[in-house]
């Protein structure tokens, strides 16, 4: 809870510090000073700073996030419409990332200092170094323009059929995944390198277990703690990274909306979005912490 309170105050402060007068923008360029003053009063921007903060927090406590200045919509419904798009994009990309990243990282660790290791690490380095927008454009050229497998942009809601939704999301999610796979493969490799040198791995081999069981069960279970941490970070990063991806693929997600809101000085929308995203990150961390206790009996309370 204190974290969420701090986020809400930060969300408020950040925009108050930015230059630009929303009243002037909303009233329009040709508006008279009186009209601007009226809009300012309507928005409560004429009150003192502390008063504004108090009203903001008071409204938040009642679940009132205010209304967007540009969308003619309450902030909650505007975010509520777009958040599922962003979250499903992040989830789908993580869904691609975890199996591939963990497998590649384990492979590199197991065959450390061989050509397999070098090959995996080179791919991983490319993944984290190549800018997402460039990959996105290449992906569109290859899969949409040349091969025609998926639409180049746009969004089909999941309610209109899984196939259409997947086709519209697959390329954006894969684009996001490339960075994530690079990151997760590197994290998994270093975690596995550490675990594979542990005494209990030798014990597992001494029992006569196959390499598959030794690595897949004994080693991976121990590396899981670091893999969960990395995945939590990636999920948060994916939501942030969706800004660019949503622009490129014209997906109606929260990233695209927040860019528009910032451009238009839509204070309430930016603040509300920040707050809801902040809350989402807190929830992700909470889930990561819960997963820790499942993965590692040593942090479990009796």
């Amino acid at each position: 809870m204190p974290v969420i309170l701090i986020i809400s105050i930060l969300a408020f402060l950040l925009l108050s510090l930015l230059p630009g007068d929303p009243a002037m923008i909303i009233a329009g360029e040709q508006a008279s000073p009186a009209a601007i003053e009226q809009v300012r009063r309507q928005l409560g921007l004429d009150r003192s700073f502390l008063e504004q903060l108090g009203i903001w927090l008071f409204n938040l406590a009642r679940g009132n996030f205010g209304s967007s200045l540009i969308l003619n919509q309450s902030v909650l419904s505007a975010v509520g419409e777009r958040l599922p798009v962003t979250l499903s994009l992040a989830a789908l990309s993580i869904g691609f990332t975890i199996p591939v990243g963990v497998f590649l990282g384990s492979l590199a660790a197991y065959y450390r200092r061989t050509w397999i290791d070098s090959a995996v690490m080179t791919v991983a380095l490319l993944g984290v170094s190549i800018p997402a927008f460039w990959i996105a454009i290449l992906g569109v050229i290859l899969f949409s323009v040349q091969l025609g497998w998926v639409p180049s942009s746009g969004f089909a809601p999941i309610s209109q059929g899984l196939g259409g939704w997947f086709a519209s999301m697959a390329l954006p999610a894969l684009t996001l995944s490339l960075f994530q796979i690079g990151f997760l493969a590197r994290m998994t490799r270093s975690a596995m390198l550490d675990v594979l040198s542990q005494d209990y791995i030798r014990t597992a081999r001494a029992k006569g277990l196959s390499e598959w069981r030794t690595v897949g069960k004994h080693a991976l279970r121990n590396a899981l703690i670091l893999i969960i941490t990395a995945t939590g970070i990636l999920l948060s990063a994916a939501i942030g990274g969706s800004v660019i991806i949503e622009q490129v693929f014209a997906l109606p997600g929260i990233g695209r909306m927040v860019v528009q809101a910032i451009m238009a000085r839509d204070y309430p929308l930016v603040q509300g979005t920040m707050l809801i995203l902040g809350f989402t990150f807190v929830m992700i961390n909470l889930i990561v912490d819960i997963l820790y206790t499942l993965a590692d009996p040593r942090v479990r309370h009796d």
Binding site: Y200, T203, A206, K207, G208, R221, A295, P297
Partner: protein
């Protein structure tokens, strides 16, 4: 004498370092007969553990090679055995326990899980049958309240209890040979005694051979029938335990025995062997013990001494001493 259960012949093990390969153990031979208990003793760095790990081929494959020698177990040369043969032998025919019970158990798996894995692998035992056997094994290694303990994770157990779990895991499939690599080194003295007693009882009950690795001559004296003394990667002396203490041949063995503190001794200082064991990368001409040896002679530096039989099942790698003792060559 019948063919030994395990026969290590002229084994050489090399590790990869930045500059190439260094020889960790060189020309090591030792036998473990059926039902025998062989002690391997030496300082840290003498190559005892390297020898032990070689038997089950547990060295890191990337950074280890074994250019010569053989490890014969029944009809197989373990150095050249297929992966599937090795896996069949590991944990079932030959089992191993390690020095540090704190790190040798997997921290994220329950004890029951880790023991029953061996049972499933080699005996196809699963479910309730495996569970029964796990509890039985935990009772056998004298873990109190075994049925409840089985579901604990290793971090809830003390070092002594964890070593008992390791032993339970090792004897689960009634192996014919148990390799115990410094099984009591990481434990309190009182716990040490309990673990050794447990091992002795289990050895008798199960009729298994034991290869006990220790730097503690006291432990070896109590436990082993035959002793192999290693120094700087070579076997320097091998003898039945009573013979070794009555008449040590190699000056290093003499030094080791002299260094065991006697309770009735009034000497103000502990006896030590001067100097330190050379690393595998240090090149020492001739006998590798010569820089520390009180009885060193010019001929010792000429060439590495060979292992010579002294008699009564005793052999040593020290021609000058054997000559002085005037013992017969076998």
């Amino acid at each position: 004498m019948a063919a030994p259960l395990l026969s290590i012949r002229n084994l050489t093990v090399q590790f990869r370092v930045d500059t190439g390969w260094v020889t960790a153990i060189d020309d090591v031979s030792l036998d473990v007969g059926a039902g025998d208990c062989v002690g391997v003793v030496g300082e840290s760095g003498s190559g005892k553990s390297v020898t032990a790990l070689s038997v089950l081929q547990l060295h890191d494959r990337v950074s280890t090679r074994m250019p010569s020698g053989s490890i014969l177990y029944q009809d197989d040369d373990l150095l050249r055995a297929k992966g599937s043969t090795m896996r069949r032998i590991r944990g079932s025919e030959i089992a191993m326990i390690f020095q540090d019970p704190m790190s040798s158990l997997n921290p994220v798996l329950t004890i029951a899980d880790q023991i029953s894995e061996t049972l499933r692998q080699h005996q196809g035992l699963t479910g309730a049958a495996a569970r029964r056997r796990v509890v039985e094994l935990l009772g056998l290694v004298r873990i109190p309240d075994a049925a409840r303990r089985a579901d604990d994770y290793p971090h809830r157990l003390s070092g002594g209890m964890r070593q008992r779990v390791m032993i339970a895991m090792a004897i689960a499939c009634k192996p014919r040979l148990l390799i115990a690599d410094e099984p009591t080194t990481a434990l309190d003295v009182t716990i040490q005694a309990q673990i050794l007693e447990l091992l002795r009882d289990l050895r008798r009950e199960l009729g298994m051979s034991v290869m006990l690795i220790s730097h503690d001559l006291g432990v070896i004296a109590e436990f082993a029938q035959r002793v192999v003394v290693m120094y700087a990667g070579r076997v320097v002396e091998a003898a039945p335990v009573t013979q070794l203490f009555r008449r040590p041949v190699h000056p290093y063995t003499m030094g080791l025995i002299a260094a065991v503190p006697a309770l009735d001794s009034e000497a103000p200082r502990l006896t030590t062997i001067a100097g330190r064991i050379p690393g595998p990368q240090e090149i020492i001409p001739g006998c590798r013990f010569s820089p520390r040896c009180a009885l060193v002679q010019p001929s010792c530096l000429d060439e590495p001494p060979s292992m010579q039989t002294v008699g009564d099942g005793q052999s040593a790698r020290c021609p000058p001493r054997i000559q002085v003792l005037g013992v017969r060559h076998g």
